[in-house]
Symmetry: C2
Subunit: 648 residues, 2 copies
Amino acid sequence: MNKTIQTVESAAAGSAFLIEDVYPLIDGGRFAVKRIAGDRVEVWADIYRDGDATISAALIWRGEQEREWRRESMIHHGDDRWSGAFVPTEPGPYVYAIEAWTDEFATWRHGVERKQLSGSDITLDAIEGAGLLTKAQGARQDAAAIILRQCEDYLGSGDVTPLLATELGEAMAESQARPDLTRSPSFPLVIERDRARFGAWYQMMPRSQSAVAGQHGTLRDCIARVPDIAAMGFDVLYFTPVHPIGKTRRKGRNNSPGASDGEPGSPYAIGAAEGGHDALHPELGTIEDFRALVATCLEYGLEIALDFAVQCSPDHPWLTQHPEWFKWRPDRSVRTADGPYSDIVIPDFASVDRVGLWNAFRDAMLFWIDHGVTIFAIDNHDTAPLPFWEWLIRDIRSRHPEVILFSKTFARPKLMRGLAKLGFAQSFSYFPWRTGKWELEQYLGELTRYPERDFVRPNLFVNTPDLLPYHLQSGEAWMFKSRFALAATLSGNCGLYSGFELLEHEAIPGHEEYQDSEKYQIRQRDWDRPGNIKAYITALNRIRHDNAALQQTTNLRFLGIEHGETIAFVKEATEPANIVVVAIALSRPVREVWLALGELTIDVGGERRRISALENLMTGEQSRIEWGGIRLRIDPDCDPALLFRCLA
Amino acid sequence: MNKTIQTVESAAAGSAFLIEDVYPLIDGGRFAVKRIAGDRVEVWADIYRDGDATISAALIWRGEQEREWRRESMIHHGDDRWSGAFVPTEPGPYVYAIEAWTDEFATWRHGVERKQLSGSDITLDAIEGAGLLTKAQGARQDAAAIILRQCEDYLGSGDVTPLLATELGEAMAESQARPDLTRSPSFPLVIERDRARFGAWYQMMPRSQSAVAGQHGTLRDCIARVPDIAAMGFDVLYFTPVHPIGKTRRKGRNNSPGASDGEPGSPYAIGAAEGGHDALHPELGTIEDFRALVATCLEYGLEIALDFAVQCSPDHPWLTQHPEWFKWRPDRSVRTADGPYSDIVIPDFASVDRVGLWNAFRDAMLFWIDHGVTIFAIDNHDTAPLPFWEWLIRDIRSRHPEVILFSKTFARPKLMRGLAKLGFAQSFSYFPWRTGKWELEQYLGELTRYPERDFVRPNLFVNTPDLLPYHLQSGEAWMFKSRFALAATLSGNCGLYSGFELLEHEAIPGHEEYQDSEKYQIRQRDWDRPGNIKAYITALNRIRHDNAALQQTTNLRFLGIEHGETIAFVKEATEPANIVVVAIALSRPVREVWLALGELTIDVGGERRRISALENLMTGEQSRIEWGGIRLRIDPDCDPALLFRCLA
């Protein structure tokens, strides 16, 4: 019997309302929604109870570690659908929730007004309304004064009118008790800085940056390259691993097993006698050089991103310091990775001392953060368990909310999505393998639809040290330009691996691997080699910086264009109002196409105006919109992409 | 530091896998999925971890109060999507969950087979594989024997072949330790008996059932009516409230305020000196009569459903016994409901003694269950808080899983959905206000789509004591038939309120209310009045009983038919295989229409065969399908509906 009594009480407590279909929300709140600092976070929900009482709702939010909730009123849009919004300005983890309660006084007022209309007697109702005023025990001074005054007016006159005053309703709305207040579960939200959503990345191997032929590049050589990279308009300078490289099982040219003397090995075979994940490869220079590099980058508006790979070379100091962190074979050799990666060892993340191992990786990351690194690209991370990444991201974020972790893996679709849910700020995508119009539309549609839009931020790389896509292997400039234009306009985040700007395209035949890959040897280039497309890249990066619409991804909307090898889309930003229309050729022939724009409008001083003209963002030329669209001529050999800013 | 250590361990524990996008699931498991005893409950989920290890998954389930989980293997369908199924045979609350773990031995075997293909040395791998056999510590005897034998074979021969045997793989799959086992949260499921999904309801007022003009009907009169109602093929005999009726504020004819002497009042004004919710109105008879009624119904295959309304008349004994359960006004009168319901009082569900009040309602329901009632229609229940219903349903269900609670309310769309989520087995719908083809298609589509299909079971009533829809007010037989045919074929559950079969259609002008409504007066009818459509109703109910496809709702699929006032659909059942095609006229003119059937196939002895002919379920006539469809002629004045059984 006692059990049943408790059940009634626990059933009744804080559950008078159903709060459902909350947007945004990922897997019922299991994972955090992602937003950018300064974004208006709009939250929608169905909120209702039985009957027709007047109800109120609030959106409450706070930093995860804060005690006090902040409150924003929610508005009813009909059909029991409510919304509210807040604007977190600092990066970090947050939570939000929804509260609903009955506004008893408003319900009373509504009933009395109805009775007045029907001419019923309201003497008793008036007494009851006055009685409700005594429930406003927590009223602030100004509200309390209003409540007292209106009550006295009523008692003096015996007339209900003072009780129906709007200002009394407002005072009561915020002052009366809320005995049936129902609060939804708390839902997680992660706020990151703008660079999580917008940036152009330039990836390079530091050891290839020497200006002297045949010489191992140093961080000082990298510093000398910074002005040129910054001049191209990049935001992030992204380095392959900078750690000591193992000698045991070191790979030679083109991944041949067993390096010859003097071959540098793959920088992904991390760790040697000189140190491991928190050490610098001696030939690159000193930690002071690293600090100098970070400082120079900052000066030029670049951030450093480092590859962060959990594998070790067989010479990594941890193998002798912490043998329990690794898997050993019956012949007492360490278990190495299979296939082409026989120069590396994957630690045992389920080790009896996993606490030690996980913390060691975390501490290595903290080491580089202490030395000015704010972005990490997590290499090949389907080799570590999912809970490790979730833990690492939470741990790093709680200490350094400004740090951005980029999930740099090509894996199965669900795993790619899952890693993004776990908290990575950005993700690799299948963009390198999406070349047809319908493939691009479908795939980008998939990444920008709900709920993916709330946790996946694709970073569209046109190539990587591991990937020279087939479509680039003929080395045609128009194709390199088309691919970079796609990456730079479809997504807020895009990147290339150095050599792309020089149209490098020699592959191992039949593979999407670079011939003489830099992963296994030092390669030096003439960065101003004739035929390079640096000016084109520079122009696109400038346009990205000038147009807020291109600084995000989820605002993508494809446009109808009656040409199977031309893709067109529009991106729209508010504050500042900016609309960019893009058309890009996916094949080489010259084409004339009609681009239907539909009913585009833009905010001009708070007023929506119809778009009347387009400004070509490369040439500055303006064209009037006629018949709801515009005729375009694209000559890919000149420029495969047309970018326009919309004018009112 | 200690905090961080704990965090690693808690992060690593039982979360190696992501188990996502579980189907079926309502609001992340907040509410129970509904199924029928004997149904195969199929569960789907995305299940994955990092890397390419071989994984296994199981669907586990149990009665909510059971301790031991039952286990079913899950199958991988590609793209990390898995499914499993189980068949609960008893009504009651259940839970299910998903477990995933790495099959370490299968992973090893997969790796060795790959190495064998590439010709690598596998000496060490073989030793490692043999080592894994020691992890099968919990092996059952037969598995242990296989493991031991294969291990000895390997040790004797030094050859890896015995370790790669399929039977060893199977023995290890079920025997080895599962250190990374991840279990999803437990998700609720409610199993109900078949009547929750399938039944035709006949609603009547017991006091109108006397054969003697002007005499108050009794339960004995109702017993006399049972054979006729059963002969029409109904499954549920549904009574308006049978309790004593209040005298204070009693309503007269057509809801006039203040009854004259001898007027019986509305049975919804529950409670008088003679008793309340657990008492029988004296004029209806005794509790022994009630038992006799239940027994007669059972004999004729009918179940009794009772209206269960939480309101009280001002004369209800609880007002004096438990004044704290009610709201009192400043003049010490009790607060009555507003508007047309001034003869009733809504208890205060937030009363200081809500435990007493809630339990009192629950006990009243238990009283009637003890007297043989197995179905309750919850009247007007948006007058009680949502947590009350959720608590009541859980409480009743835990004691009497066979009891069916029907949510008989017309409320706002979200509230209707919410009440269904809270656990009502069936719900009223907006069907009475959906008459056009597109309205019906859209609305039934909404009720049968995911996730609604998993918690909403509509019961399509063509009329109720409160509702004489406008489209019936002209009294045309074809319309009454069309509406009953729609209700009887679109949904597994349908119902009518007595008088419908006599084409009663006199409304209060401009309203959807019956003139001289039985709610306020006794009405007697000649149940065999000429022009009645009892034979038509009987035929449809017989067809429903003979065809499994018509005994459920979620199997509904609309068919294309090029006529704006003819609706067509197909319903398909398995076990037994049964496909029914339906076309119903929504207007009166005779029409000839082409019905495209597409590629319908049916299971015949385990083999899919194409449908070749249709059998008219009214006439028995067969028609061959030609050109993928059939030409139909519908004369609504003869029969607005055509029902066909598909033949292979």
